[in-house]
Amino acid sequence: MLRLVNGAQTVGNGWPFWSSFIAVLAGALVYPMFADSYDVGNFAYFLIWVFMAMGLCLMWGYCGMLSFGQTFFFGVAGYSYGVLAIVLGGGTMTVLALVLAVLLAGLSALVLGYFMIWGRVGGVFFGIVTLSATLVLAFFLGQTAGPEWAIGEARLNGFNGMKGMDPLNIPWFEDETLYFEGASLYYLAIALIVVVYLGLRILLNSRFGNVIVAIREDPQRAELLGYDVRKYQLITFVVGSSLAGLSGVLYTSWGQFITPGSIGLPAAAMPIVWVAFSGRGDITATLVGSFLILFAFQTITVYSQQAALVLMGGMLLATVMIAPQGFVIGIARAIGRLFRGRGTGNATSSHRGS
């Protein structure tokens, strides 16, 4: 198992890292027993966004595709979940709605990605096209206030957004239903993060991961080694975008609403700030950094939303000026060097770039 999740593409391959990982996970699992339910709900909310960040890290940090479209797929899946949860009648059908909504996000990534990648849209234009798609979707959904914009019982409701869908739930013991809210949503998010994080580590340290890193470094050389670069880019784009879709579904289920505001420009810029600040070149740095930023952002938002946005902008500027590889990864590498300096383990991988 450890052989699969460790490798050149990820920082943190030694026992100090995995011991810390288990300690953090154990801490996360017992946290709801000590914290009040408001804080647990808030933590669940931060965790929901981490999938979107990990997806962007995969595409941008590992494969060199800067997608501005994470909130596009977040929106596609979030709205799809809303519509499906209502149309399918809610209840335990919400699980089917989740699966279908993430698949729809993946399918839309397949179509958009196909036209971009096969149309040789690359570099900065990849960002421009994905941003355009995001803005188009946000504007389109913003003008769906009229009653004609409904699918069955599900009204899209324009700028006010959709509401009234059931939260995710599954049948539980003795004819009870377990609704994923508060602590149960928190545990669901933790479980999904562990699965996605380990899954991505396996993917990144596999042959596939080697190829996408090669594509990031030099797409022509990668093709001249016999790899169909377009196919690898498309798969990466679909996986990364589907993870944004998963965030979208969990978000919609969490608040039982979704608005075009969660898709538009300010929202679309957020994942880029999280991933850039954390360190796009490493999935663990993105996971940890995104969570910390969301936590800080939420804490500051309580006092002033403007201040929080200014902080985000400031963090992006600081990243670009001071630590273009990202702050969290910089700190992680420093810790790794410390461990190696003491000869206590192999905490970091060999040289990596992004």
Binding site: D218, L224, L225, G226, S350, H351
Partner: protein
Amino acid sequence: MAELLQTTAISKTFGGLAAVSGVDLSVTEGEIHCLIGPNGAGKSTLFKLIIGTYPPTAGHIKFRGDTVTEERPYQRVKRGMSIKMQTPSVFKELPVRQNLHIALQHHVTKAELAREEERLLTLLDLAADAGKPAGELSHGQQQWLEIGMALALKPKLMLMDEPTAGMSPEETFRTGELIQQLNGLGMTILVVEHDMAFVRQIAQRVTVLHFGKVFARGSIKEILADERVAEIYLGKTHEHL
């Protein structure tokens, strides 16, 4: 011996300029074939037509008996071509070993991977630098690493565009020896080159391009004895065309 690679009346025009015009080239299995010519003769364009990074304006390319004219570079690589570009094209941020690993991973079994990496590192004299990012190697070492990555594919035909560009005379000579060694093991090699000393060292058959057309072809002895070829290299060209 069978024809491994064959271009028939292959042409490439850019706007009004015919960079390659009706070239018939054939590379026979087991030989070292050099494609030479002065600057602007169309060598690199022909090379890019063969590897598939340029689509031809007219003509056909056959490789191992199959027409590959419409195929993309990765498809040709899968058929057994392997390519060394003119400027070193390695994954600069990744360690040397990982560069080789990426090239090897679909061509050897997992069990053989580490052994094959070591073999190539030793062959290329890069074992001491295996953990360094490839971008930190000297220019000549990067050229060698790229040759190693091309070799990792176990190709039927190795295509090299000026493999010694930017190398010291000593490195150039060693590269020549490596190419001959590979040829001795049965690999067919097509080299685009304008350094005549290097061509003299390695070539068995030579095709000379000039102004996008085949100017002369033959064994290395015949080409070296051809005064017209000497003249185009000295610049007295136009009266002969």
